[in-house]
Amino acid sequence: MQQGEVLRVNDLRVAFDVNGSPVEVVKGIGFRVCSGAVTAVVGESGSGKSVTAQAIMRILPKNGVITGGSIEFRPNSGEIVDMAALEPNGPKVRSLRGSSVSMIFQEPMSSLSPVHSVGNQVEESLRIHALGKGMNRKQLREATEETLELVGFPNPHRAYDMYPFEMSGGLRQRAMIAMALICRPDLLIADEPTTALDVTVQAQILKLLKELQAKLNMAVLLITHDLGVVANLADEVVVVYDGRVVESGPVEEIFRDPQHQYLKALLNAAPHFDMAPDQRLVALRGGNRAAIQLQTKEAKREQPESRPLLTVSNLSKIYHLRKASFFGGEALVIRAVDDVSFTIKRGECLGLVGESGSGKTTVSKILTRAITADSGSVIFDDGARQVDVLKLDEKELKHFRPHLQMVFQDPVSSLSPRMTIADILREPMQIHGQGNRAEQVSRAKDLLTSVELGANALNRYPHSFSGGQRQRIGIARALAMNPDLLILDEPVSALDVSVQAQVLNLLKDLQKELGLTYLFIAHNLAVVNYMAERVAVMAAGRIVEIGPSRAIFEAPTHPYTRALLKAVPFADLDRPLVLDELVLKGSSDPRNWPDAFRGEMQDLSAVDLGGGHQVLARQSVDFREFHA
């Protein structure tokens, strides 16, 4: 171990016991983490990067064992320990865990116990380790509140007694960080610390991690799949693929002069804002798909240019919550969807962007009639006749459904594990009584071909497919009804970058070949930029800005859109995150917006900036000052 190194992992091997036979998932990974520096381990899911982190902490699942290599760790006390040689739950390991080396996890909700207060959980590390020995309750609480303040809780005293479910995702992750830092560890392992967070919250947490790392002079091991996060945080990078290191070195070398094929492909596979309008993503896998013509029952009707396929007007959905108190209920009104209007033309892709809780999923659910809107109308115009989707009765709705289909976010839970692919694809045809068995099977085959899967997939079950393949099956199912409009609700956010590119390209091709219209819901702005011709930005239940992608991404006007764009980390060393005050204060909260963009809906209107670019603001606003 060299001077300045806090952690050195040599030729680490970890195997999992699967039905009695060992399967090696980490096949000789080695790297170092230096004092006061960040080492990032990058790879896609299944590459073994999280298992490596768990092995260092010795918190591998029961069926996982370290089969070789060493994990040398030098805490501040100076004495080097080989973590790999210690007993997994023995006193030595336990005394290091949580005090000298601690860990932040991906899911801030499930990583915290829901029934213990935040203070209780944060304080616990202090109570069980040497640092907190001899402290009384008051001192413990003071130390805890001090750490909560350090990670940016505005009111640490109040936060101490709060429960995780009372906090937003960002605050929960801050609590998680406080928990890891309370004993001032020498090494912090952050396993996908921002993956589950919204992009503006991610920016806040990244900034916090960077500041804390400098302040406490910690060594940080960052596990992530997001090269944008790596470019903003890391000093050294280790790229792992299939349990092995394929490339490693200082962050400069990795980004400016990538050597390994895999790394180069990874850098090209993620969509970014500087792409030319017709530039295609380079998928790591697949991509040699021949254009096919799906058999359609009827030719798509001609649509007059002036009549959009879908016209959504003044959609509102209000939730009333009863606040429990001794004397009865006090109404709490949440405007999940607040006077939302937009149109989608035939053959177009409209991107709907917003953070969690902005109401974008509620809108999609209203369109599919899974939720009933309080007011507003959704006019669907297939060229021949117009129908108000919200006014259809049960029977009419069944007839209408084939026109509008959905692709869901989670490829695992959206396919029934008990049905074969053939059953899954035939189900919509059976519901609508289309064709006999042979015709349905032959259409299912065509559908599979159209999403680059072979006909041999028909008799298999979803579990034998990867995430990307399953998502393609989900797309094939949505196509089975030969729809006009597809609602794609975060279709790639559960997928790895390498797979994401393939699915996005597929969606683009299908749109062209079948003349489909998309409503593309996503939180990833680069993905929306790649897919959509027009973009609508949602915040607090309203569409705050809508317009052509180019206008939105090059001349964002609404403060929220601007904050959103600023918060995206680029996989580019020359464009580090520069966060303004609004992002740091919380840009999704209308209270932090300038006066010109705040108020009740009747005070605001969609101000036209030309070319279909509209922003929700007061009529009197002079926009020049916001572009400065």
């Binding site: 116990s113 029934v115 009372e166 919550l321």
Partner: protein
């Protein structure tokens, strides 16, 4: 919180009213009434039937009134502690049930405690050492307990208790002490007798509970926050008790509501076999003889227990789980 409890108590009223109507309707449903089965019994025994007396009884017990009127007088009486009159015992229902109720509660409580004491440690052991020999062993025993008919177990244990410890057959106290006031000797005698019914009644419940604790705990042990606790350096046992065990308690507490009536009503057959002086055999006899007020009041008592049990478990859940206590509508 107070509002929540207040609202829950208010909710009990319509529940109990509907139950009482249902119970009354079900008891009324079979053709005939107590007097008719009484007459039939007399005739079967070859005795003469005094029509004047029957008429008198009919008036006295209100059988000449409509069912609706009788329902209201029955329900109305309950509010002032009058649960009606047992025809068979020729005593007010309260007098018939009273003594037995006490013993029933003693046996039930002992059974519940027995169940918990056995089920918890075994459930935790099985969950933390899943698929070990110990786990398989306890699973086997548990399934055996579930599958053995209670009356059979009762007979076997009664025989063994008599052979090994000389405990008298049947009853909850030694026959010589039956009508004596409570004394140390009587108390000890109850303790000597009580373990047989407790084990018999508790076995299947224990076996079921072990399985549920094991399953719930196994679910919780997979959760991410358990890993977080380990990553803090918490001792594995303390981490187990503080986090997953605490979480798995939810199911267990919501179980209390159904536990009380299940233990009390599930014990009837066993009580008959062991000739226990509890309420179970009384209910069965009352139903057979169409002794409607006795049976009806008893069923009402069971429903009240259920409703109160559910209330207790809901309140306990709200205390234990902040998500229920604080999440009640404040956040979306």
């Amino acid at each position: 919180m107070f509002y929540y409890i207040f609202r829950r108590i208010l909710m009990m009223i319509p529940t109990l009213v509907i139950t009482s109507a249902l119970i009354f309707a079900i008891i009324e449903a079979p053709p005939g009434d107590y007097l008719e089965s009484y007459i039939a019994e007399l005739k079967a025994q070859g005795e003469s039937v005094d029509n004047a007396r029957i008429e008198y009884l009919r008036k006295e017990y209100g059988f000449d009134k409509s069912p609706v009127e009788r329902y209201f007088s029955w329900v109305g009486g309950m509010f002032v502690g009058d649960f009606g009159y047992s025809f068979a015992y020729e005593l007010p229902v309260t007098a018939v049930v009273g003594d037995r109720l006490f013993l029933t509660i003693v046996v039930s409580m002992a059974t519940i405690i027995f169940t918990w004491l056995i089920a918890f440690p075994i459930g935790i052991y099985s969950a933390t050492r899943q698929y070990s020999w110990g786990d398989y062993g306890f699973t086997f025993l548990g399934l055996l307990g579930l599958a053995t008919p209670n009356f059979l177990l009762a007979l076997v244990l009664m025989y063994l208790a008599n052979v090994w410890f000389g405990t008298s057959i049947g009853g909850l106290v030694d026959p010589s002490l039956v009508d004596q006031p409570m004394s140390w000797a009587k108390f000890m005698s109850v303790l000597h007798h009580i373990w047989v019914p407790v084990i018999v009644i508790g076995t299947s419940g224990t076996a079921g509970m072990i399985r549920r604790i094991r399953a719930n705990l196994l679910d919780e042990l997979q959760k991410q926050y358990v890993t977080t606790a380990r990553a803090k350096g918490l001792h594995p046992f303390r981490a187990l008790v503080k986090y997953p065990l605490r979480m798995s308690l939810n199911f267990f507490i919501s179980d209390i509501g159904s536990l009380l009536p299940a233990v009390i009503s599930g014990a009837e057959v066993v009580a008959i076999v062991l000739s226990l002086e509890t309420t179970g055999p009384l209910l069965i006899a009352a139903l057979q003889r169409q002794d409607m007020y006795l049976a009806g009041s008893f069923l009402m008592f069971l429903s009240l227990l259920t409703v109160v049990g559910v209330l207790i478990s809901d309140i306990a859940l709200a205390f234990l789980d902040p998500r229920i206590r604080l999440g009640g509508g404040v956040r979306k």
